[in-house]
Structures are given as structure tokens and as C-alpha cells.
Amino acid sequence: MNNPKKESLSSVIYNSMVRNNLVLVLGTAIAPVIVVANTLKNAAILALTFSVITFFTMLLSSFIPQKLVYTVRVIIYIAIGALVYVPTAIIISSLFPQALQNMGIYFPLLITNSFIIFHSDTAFLTEKKGRMMLDLILGIIGYDIVVLIFGLIREIISTGEINGNVITLPILFKAFYQPFGGFILLGIFAAVLRGILLLIKKVSN
């Protein structure tokens, strides 16, 4: 991310999607993951809404001049997010009428997600447009993959179902369906990813 000329595409993908994963490493927009992504279906809807809102907000935000003070600029980012939200909400609610009900207040709260507020300026908006777009898309894909896997595993271990289809499991951990279970499971996920990254580093060394 720092030196675009030296980095190969695979390392860009690895850095954006895995090493700087938005959920498991940077801790971005984790509230909807913890509360909403408790089934595969909910996770898919969250991934879709997050992708649309974040992508277009960041894209439009990149046109805001960087000379403007950050303390003021950040409110413009959020205002853009709120504008992007309106058509997104209309489209999503017509495609998936139940989706907005499932997400509740977490759908509009995506406007002020920490990715747009904290990380946008430090990691993305200071880059060149092309590189920014690549990093942004890869970052969002990384987020979506984690959310989907998280939702799937959470649904299996807490309800014994995959997308509503019952699978027979000897024990179900109902606690993981709740927000606190989401916190604990996400913590375990983050630890596992760190372990994998450590292993990769050891092997490559």
C-alpha cells in the first residue's frame, strides 16, 4: 500500500484482503458483524449493503480536496454517506423487503462506520485514484469474505442450520447467536487469523 511501484498484484491482494483485513485486523465496522451477521443470509445482506455504501461513499469522498481541514472534511464524508444511503435503501428494500427489518438500525449506521471516519484518510484517500480504487475494492472483498464465513460458522454452531436448512449437530452453542457471542467469536476469528499470518511469516522466513 505504501509503495505501489514495488508491490506485485499478489502482494497487494494479500495486504489489502488479509494482512489489513478490515474486520479481523483493523476492527472496522464490527458492530453490524457482531449483531447482524448471525446467519448466512443476514451476513450476505450485510456484505452487500456495506459494499455498496462504502464503495460509493469513498469514491465520491475522494473528490473532496485534501486541503480542507480533516476535522471539517470528515463531516462531508458522512454527508456523502447519508446521500448514498438513500438510493441504496430504496434499491435494497425493493430487492430484499425483509433485509432492512433484519438489519434494523445497523443499516443506516453504516454511514458512520469507522472505515469511512478513521481509515479513509490514512489509508485510502491520500493515494492515487487508480490505486485507491484497487485497495478499496480488495478491502471490501476482504470484509465481505470474512462476514460471510463468520455468518456461516455462527449459524452452524448456534442454530445447527445452514441458510435455514437443518444439519444434525450433537451440540449447539446458542450463546454465539447473541451479540456477546459475536464479540467472543470475532475475537477468536481475529486470533486465528493472526496465528495463520504468523505461521505464513515463519514458513516464508
Binding site: P170, F173, K174
Partner: protein, 334 residues
């Protein structure tokens, strides 16, 4: 600071183990072979998980480290005698992996592992964990026979629902002969145990006494000095057991006397609030978990406060010495 910090972990754990073995024997006497099996499984799973975790972390496990056995035994005694073994195993795994090793292992734990793991399992398996057989009904190991055993709500729950003292006689209450966790109700034994552990300085006397005083006085005020009701509160909901083995656990205790006193008071007050206003079945579990982080902060504040006082004292003595010297030199000049 109390001697508790200078005494080795192993000796403290040994004392705790002795204190836990007696209720374990009584639990086996009340519930038979199944209780014994739960205890064995719990301790074995805890030990095995601990060994594996140490290996994975690349650290050497002290062979004499028996705090894991204490955790296993504590968890077993908090269980219903009819609990399925998978619930016991889940609780043990959560206590050792998440509450102990994820937090950095011995000496760095924030929460009492047994309390957190019990809460986690009771939310995962509420029917299995929070329904109890009658005492003195020997349970077999077979799960088919277990299905025919009638299970009841705990004495603590019925006391909260009826808002009246337990229906059991006072003698039964004192000897723990009522529906509830298999090893947490023998109040007479636990008071003797607490005295023994306080004399041996294996639990903090100041913390235990402050908690005990708050809970007893608060309950007496709430129920209008009804002794049987107070006894029901102390026996049920793991109150006394939790005070000794969960709240006063040396692994999560603050270092200074004053912070222990304040933490004891906080835990006591929280227990009362959760018991009487929230109607929690096992209020001490929640109180212990929520109060734990404040122990760390209290320690920090008290230590810095003590530092400020000692610095002020030093300054005062230095200035006093200086004025004495100048006075003396003045007198000599005269």
C-alpha cells in the same frame, strides 16, 4: 499488603484444593457415582487442556501447578448433578482456553475462569445446567435412566419467585439438602472452610468479611430480619461458595488491602442489587465478573495514592531535618 502475595501460588492452590475436596465428597454422598464422574471428568479435561495450551504457547508448565485442578473442581461443584458431560467439557474448555490462556495464563487473568465459563455454558445449555435433581437421589451414569429422573428448579429460583424463605427446614438448609448445584450449598462447611482459608491466608479475609457483611446486612434489611430467608439467600445461588472460591480467588484479587476491601464491598452490593432488584438466580456470578476489572483499577489507584503519601512523608521528613539543621547551626552561631 497481605501475606497472600508472598505465599506461593502452589500452597494457596493446595489449601483451596483441600477446601474443595470436602464438598466434593459430600456431593458424591448426596448424588452418587454420577457426581463423582462429573468431578473426575471436569478435573481431567481442565488438566489436559492446560497441558495442551502450555505446549501450544511454547511455555513450560510447572508440574506442581494445581490451580487448574482447583478450577476443574470448582466448575464441577457448580454443576447440576444431572448435567450432561458435554456441558461440563464445554465449561472446562472455555475456562482454561479463553479465560486463562488467552488472557496470558497464570497471574494475568482478569476474570475468574470458573465463573465466566459457568455463565457461558448456562446460556448455551440453560435447561441442562439450571435444572436440578433432588438431593440424596443417586443418579446413574446412563443417559437413558437420567431421562426418567425428575428435575426441579433451584431453591434460589423458588425463593425469588415466591419472595419467601425456602420450604426446606433450617437443618436441611445448613447441610445443603435442597435442589441446587451439587456442591455449593453446605453453608456450615463453607463457613468453617472460609475460616480455615482466612487463617491460612489463602483467601483475603478483608474481602470475604466485607462481602459477607454487606450481603447479610442487606438481606436482613430487605426481608425484615427474617433469619430463614437470609439463610436461604446465603445457601442458595452459590452465594457463600462464590464468595470463597470465585470472588476471593487469589488469582484475580487486587494487591492492596484497601482495594480488596473496596472490591469486597462492590461485589457485595452488586450481589444484592442483582439478587433483589434484577432477580438473578446466581447473582454472585454476575457480581464477580462485573466487579473484576475494577479490582485492577483500584489497585492502580491505591498504589499511586500510597506513592503520593509516601512521597509527601519523605518530603516532610527532609524539610523537618533541614529546619532542624538550620536551627542547630543558628544556635551554634549564637
Amino acid at each position: 499488603m497481605e501475606r497472600i502475595n508472598s505465599k506461593s501460588d502452589i500452597l494457596i492452590s493446595a489449601d483451596m484444593l483441600i477446601a474443595l475436596l470436602i464438598p466434593a465428597v459430600i456431593a458424591v454422598y448426596y448424588y452418587g457415582i454420577r457426581a463423582a464422574m462429573i468431578i473426575v471428568v471436569s478435573v481431567a479435561v481442565c488438566l489436559l487442556t492446560d497441558v495442551i495450551c502450555y505446549k501450544l504457547r511454547g511455555r513450560v508448565r510447572v508440574k506442581a501447578e494445581i490451580s487448574t485442578v482447583v478450577t476443574g473442581l470448582t466448575i464441577a461443584l457448580m454443576m447440576s448433578a444431572s448435567v450432561p458431560f458435554y456441558a461440563v467439557v464445554t465449561t472446562d474448555l472455555f475456562a482454561i482456553i479463553i479465560c486463562k490462556h488467552a488472557f496470558g495464563g497464570r497471574g494475568n487473568e482478569i476474570f475468574n475462569g470458573a465463573a465466566v465459563a459457568f455463565l457461558f455454558s448456562s446460556i448455551c445449555f440453560p435447561t441442562e445446567m439450571l435444572n436440578y435433581p433432588r438431593p440424596a437421589v443417586h443418579l446413574s451414569l446412563s443417559s437413558e435412566e437420567l431421562l426418567n429422573t425428575s428435575l426441579f428448579q433451584s431453591m434460589s429460583k423458588s425463593v425469588i419467585l415466591s419472595n419467601d424463605a425456602a420450604s426446606s427446614s433450617i437443618i436441611d438448609l445448613l447441610v445443603g439438602k435442597f435442589c441446587g448445584p451439587m456442591g455449593t450449598g453446605f453453608i456450615i462447611l463453607f463457613i468453617i472452610t472460609a475460616a480455615f482459608l482466612m487463617l491460612r491466608r489463602s483467601i483475603s479475609a478483608i474481602s470475604f468479611c466485607s462481602q459477607f457483611a454487606v450481603i447479610v446486612i442487606g438481606t436482613l434489611i430487605y426481608c425484615g430480619s427474617d433469619i430463614k430467608y437470609t439463610l436461604s439467600v446465603l445457601c442458595g445461588g452459590m452465594t457463600i461458595f462464590g464468595m470463597i472460591f470465585l470472588s476471593c480467588d487469589y488469582r484475580t484479587m487486587p494487591k492492596t488491602r484497601s482495594s480488596r476491601l473496596i472490591l469486597g464491598l462492590i461485589t457485595g452490593v452488586l450481589t444484592l442489587i442483582f439478587r433483589f432488584y434484577a432477580g438473578a438466580e446466581n447473582p454472585i456470578i454476575y457480581a464477580v465478573i462485573i466487579a473484576a476489572p475494577f479490582g485492577i483499577e483500584l489497585d492502580r489507584k491505591m498504589l499511586s495514592f500510597a506513592k503520593i503519601i509516601s512521597n509527601a512523608k519523605k518530603k516532610r521528613t527532609v524539610t523537618a531535618e533541614k529546619t532542624k539543621e538550620t536551627d542547630e547551626s543558628g544556635l551554634n552561631n549564637e
